[in-house]
Structure formats: structure tokens, C-alpha cells
């Protein structure tokens, strides 16, 4: 066990993989000499050389497209989007080339696309997005979103070992604010949900940065005992764990940071409305960012991002239902 930040956990997973598997190759803008916009790859180019920790041209479509090609001939590329927002520029290669390859022709595409995502620090409309739902809606792409340091490392190892395209949603706001014990060496965290805190009267289903918000919002709720379910993986989605929590708690609040419409939370709500109807003792409540670009100025950003108060309020109301 070692204590490290969420960011250090990601770096350490990358280092371990580069050491263990010569097929692993990191690609991205400014990830080499500079160590990446967030310093996630700091020191790796010095240790493994510019060929394996590659500074690429400013070209997201090319980063993903060439990674697909390299993967097709046996490499295990791990691509970094400098901010998850910029994956919009490589969207086509990811959903149409990488995502559909195996179904169409049985050719595996083992690539990982690291997506530093999320808001909370005045990044504004283009440095705060949470694009995971776009990839949940695109067949053939796995999507994981760690909320703890341990899961950040374990899910990244599992993603790199996975023979499919995996979007690794790493939340920028957790990079240095979340710390935790992480097992030594290479280990895999399964693409399944995790009960972050057991409870009986209501379950908050969430992932990524909102897990911590949910835990804070519900730790001292005198109105009832609240479970927090950390999805960890969005594709595959752990429907069993979701339905199990709902069956036990009968009340659900779903929290995600992405814009509300057609978000991951919408899918979770739909699954519950269809498959857990009998167990529901109240409406399936959602807390998410309304359908606006993420504004820059702190008072505006704080007004749209789901925070502890909004989640607490939602839980209180539902418990009282």
C-alpha cells in the first residue's frame, strides 16, 4: 500500500504499464518533455524515451486514428486528450473507426483514450465538459470513470489490458484533491459498480467527481440512512448492482455532472424505471448540470454544477416523500 493522489495513481499506472509491456505507447500533445498539461506523464518521457511517450502534433483525429492503426498491428496505445472537450475533434475516428471495428470485422482495437474532464475551477465552456454520454451512446466503446485513487489506478490498468477501445474519464477536479491508499504494482479493478457507503432508505447512484459530493451531502443526514453507489464503469453498466441497491433502498437519487439531457444519469433512470418499478417508493430523482455550456465565472459555474447542497436537498425531499 502507498498513499497517493488520484493523479499520482494515474501516473503510476502508466509507468507500471510502460515498464511491464513494451507494446504500451503513450501519445498526446505536450505529454513528453513537458509532462502533460496536468503533469500526469511527468518524467515518463525521460524514463521511457520520446518514442514511447510521444509528443504529437496538435491533431486529435490523428492521435486517435493513428492509435487505431498502431493497435491493429499489436501496439497498446494510450492517448491523452489534453482536455476531454477536445475529443470532439477526434470524435469520428473514435466512434466510427475504433468503436465499430470489432463488430464489423473481428479486428480488436485495444486503445485507451484518457479524457481529463469536468469542471469546478473556472475552466469555462471548453475546458469543463463531461462527454461520457456521447460514448455510451456509441456502440463498441467502453467507458470508465474512477472516483478514488485506488480505482484510478486499477481501472486504468484494466483499461490498458482490455482488448477494446476504452474511454478513461479522469476528473481534473480530483487530480490533487483526492488521496488514498493504493496497492503496490499492477492490479485490475473490474468494470463494475462499488458501494461507496451502504445504506437502507435511499441510494444515491453516481460516478466520478460526484461520488465525493454525494458522500459529503449524505453523511450527516438525520432523515435516513443513505447508500452511495459508485458506478465506476458506465459501459458496461453494472445493472445488477443498480437494481440491487434500488431493491434494498426503494428510493433513488441519480447524480451526474454532465448536462442533464441524455446523460449517463438518464440511462440509469431509464433502466430503473423499466426494471425496478416494483421496488420504487418514490420518483427517480436526478441531479445534474442543466443544459447550458459550463460558464466561466465562479458564481455562475457554482450555480450550474451539482453541489453538496443540491444533492442534500434532493435526498431530504425524497426521504420525506
Amino acid at each position: 500500500m502507498a498513499t497517493m493522489t488520484y493523479l499520482q495513481a494515474i501516473s503510476s499506472a502508466l509507468r507500471d504499464e510502460l515498464r511491464a509491456d513494451e507494446r504500451v505507447l503513450l501519445m498526446g500533445e505536450d505529454i513528453g518533455v513537458f509532462g502533460g498539461a496536468f503533469k500526469v506523464t511527468d518524467g515518463l518521457s525521460q524514463e521511457f524515451g520520446p518514442d514511447r511517450v510521444m509528443d504529437t502534433p496538435l491533431a486529435e483525429s490523428a492521435i486517435i486514428g493513428t492509435a487505431v492503426g498502431a493497435a491493429a498491428v499489436g501496439m497498446r496505445p494510450v492517448c491523452e486528450m489534453q482536455f476531454s472537450d477536445f475529443v470532439s475533434c477526434g470524435f469520428d475516428q473514435l466512434v466510427n473507426v475504433a468503436g465499430k471495428m470489432h463488430y464489423r470485422q473481428g479486428l480488436a482495437v485495444p486503445i485507451v483514450v484518457r479524457l481529463p474532464s469536468g469542471g469546478g475551477f473556472s475552466g469555462g465552456p471548453f475546458h469543463s465538459q463531461n462527454p461520457e454520454a456521447l460514448f455510451m451512446h456509441s456502440p463498441g466503446i467502453k467507458v470508465v470513470a474512477p472516483s478514488t485513487a485506488e480505482d484510478a489506478k486499477g481501472l486504468l490498468h484494466a483499461a490498458i489490458h482490455d482488448p477494446n477501445p476504452v474511454c478513461f474519464m479522469e476528473h481534473k477536479h480530483l487530480y490533487r484533491r483526492v488521496k488514498g491508499d493504493v496497492p503496490e504494482g499492477v492490479f485490475e479493478t473490474p468494470f463494475t459498480a462499488r458501494v461507496a457507503r451502504p445504506g437502507e432508505d435511499l441510494v444515491v447512484i453516481t460516478y466520478g467527481a460526484m461520488v465525493d459530493v454525494a458522500l459529503q451531502a449524505t453523511e450527516d443526514l438525520e432523515d435516513g440512512s443513505v447508500e452511495v453507489l459508485d458506478l465506476r464503469s458506465l459501459v458496461p453498466l453494472d445493472t445488477e448492482a443498480i437494481l440491487d441497491s434500488v431493491a434494498r433502498c426503494s428510493k433513488v437519487v441519480i447524480v451526474d455532472e454532465a448536462n442533464m439531457t441524455c446523460a449517463a444519469g438518464a440511462q440509469v433512470a431509464a433502466v430503473i424505471a423499466e426494471h425496478a418499478f416494483e421496488h420504487l417508493d418514490g420518483p427517480v430523482v436526478r441531479v445534474a448540470t442543466p443544459d447550458v455550456p459550463i460558464p466561466f465565472s465562479p458564481p455562475l459555474e457554482q450555480a450550474v454544477l451539482p453541489g453538496v447542497d443540491r444533492v442534500k436537498e434532493a435526498c431530504r425531499e425524497l426521504l420525506a416523500y
Binding site: A62, G65, T66, V68, A70, A72, V97, Y103
Partner: protein, 361 residues
Amino acid sequence: MATQTVTPASTPTKAPAAEPEHLTRQDRIELLRAMLMMRGIEQRAMSLYRQGKVPGSFYDGFGQEAVSAGAAFAMAAEDRLCILHRDLAAHLIRGVEPVRIFAQYMGRADGITAGRDGNVHFGDRHVGCVGMVSMLPDMMLVAAGMAMAFKLRGERRCALTWFGDGSTSRGDFHEAMNWAGVQKLPVVFVLENNQYAYSTPLDKQFAVDPVRRADAYGFEGVSVDGNDVEAMFEATRVARERAVDGGGPTLIEAVTMRMHGHAAHDDMKYVPSEQVEEWKKRDPIERQEKRLAALGVDIDGLRAEIAQQLDAAVQEALTGPMPSPEDVLDGVFCEGEPEPLGDGRAPWSGFDSVPAHPGDA
């Protein structure tokens, strides 16, 4: 357009070429065979389409057979290809059986994609090919990525892909060209300039022939008579040598003409008949036949042999089953170990001599 003038000029002079340095008599016959097979398959597929046996739409490369035949013939077994929608001869040269291609067109279980993808959207991974997606020219980046891996691993291998004149307008063309230039990748880009992008003529796609762009990306660009299969082979052979020797990418512009509509439904009204007439005179198959006839090759015999082979393949394909819906949801994700791409057929005699490719595997 530059391209318009380039070709007629270069043709008559080049046409009755002397015995080419790098092609044996047998090689030259194989080139013709590949073109004849391509045309024969596409003609049969077109009538199957008219009979309603080929679902969806149907695309062919009538008149452009030399482009894929000549280029693919220069590729080694361990090289990797992304073959596009006018390039059927490349699949044949790599070793794909005609019966599986007919099955592919008809959406049968025995097709390359087992009915999951349609018509020309396939590539047989067992012979080192990655099947195209529709989005053009996305495969340029995939080919560049394979070449990047070869270079990183120090392998004497090369990746090749084709794309059309219209596809050069898309951002991915640029990102692939630039990336390949910056990293000096062992990749060959074959620009199939067939004068049209669907209904759109060249002057609506670019102001300057895109072969001139290669220079601005820091590598070689050559314009070749795309209706001369031996010229296509030679240009590609040189480009491949440059690639595996560390000389970087090459952009080969194959100047040709799309002699059919964009797809089966397209009557090509937008093409001036003089243009079609002009290009009819330059049919790549006739040209290669003339050359070989002069060498005493029995062309009729070859044609008959191929016709028989393809008719049999059609019959066999027609008896094949449609795919079963039972496992339609399987395979979205790969479970277990990925199956690597296999090597393809590399019929060119130049590959017989082992020392030519030390260290390949």
C-alpha cells in the same frame, strides 16, 4: 486541371513499354489476371444487384482496375493495407477468394464480414487488411498508425492505402499527410484521381492538384498514369522501397477515370460524353492485353479460365446461407486475446529472393 493534361500526354509514349525491369512475364500476366478478375467480379455483382440479390447499394471500380492491381502487387506479405471502394483487385492479390466477395456483396454468412458490413466495406484481416469505414479518408490515419508502429519497432514493413480526389478535401487527409511527414513514416498514400467525387468535378474540390501538396508536407509526390498497371506497380515498388529504407512516405497520384456512376443508381448524366469517350480509349485492361498479346500470351484462354472460375464462384456463393440473427448482438466487444492481422499473398516475383527483406516477419 493539371491532372487532365498529365495523362493523355504520358500515355501514348509509355504505352508500348519495353520489358519492364522488375516484372517477369508471369508477373505481367498476374497483373492482367487481377484486373480481369476484378472486372469480372464487379460485372457479375452488378447483375446480381439488378436481380435484387445484392442488398443496399453497389459500387465498382470499372476502368480503374490498374490502380489497385498495380499498387497491391508491389506490397509484401508482411505489409498492411487499407483497401478502398474502387480497389477490388487489391483484395484479390492479397488472396481473398472471389466466392467470399460475392457472398460479401450479397450479405451472406460466408462474406468477409458475415453480413455485418456491406458491399465494399470489408478487409480480410487474415491477409493483412483493415476494412474501410465509409467516412473518407479516415483510413489514411489508420494506415499512418500502422506505419508508425512499424517504424517504432524497427521493422522493414510498409502500410498502404488508397483514397479519392474528393477525399483530399477532408481534414483527416491533412492530419495524416502532416503526421506521416513529421514522423517520416513508411507509408504509401495512393490518391486515386478519377476526375469526380460522386457528381463533383475536381475544380470544386481543390484549386491545385493535390499531388503538389506532398512537397509542402516534406515528402515525395508523383503523378502516374493510373490506367497503366505496370506504371502503377513501378511507382509503388519505388515508394515501398523508399518506405522500408527509412526514406519516408510517398504520395502517388494515380490519374484515372471513374467509368461508371458513383454507385449503381447513378446514371452519370453530369459527365460529358466526350470525357467518357476519351477515356474509353485508355482502358487499362485492353492496354495490358495488347502488351501481353505481343508477347504471345493466350489472352482468350486467360479470359475463359477466369470467366469459368467466377461463374462457379457466383453459383457457390448463391448457395451460401444468409447469416443467422441469433448471434447478431455478439462481437460488439472483443473477449479474450485479440487475433492479430495475418500476412497476405505477395505474388510479385521480386519477393521470392529472401535477402530482399532481411528481418521481416
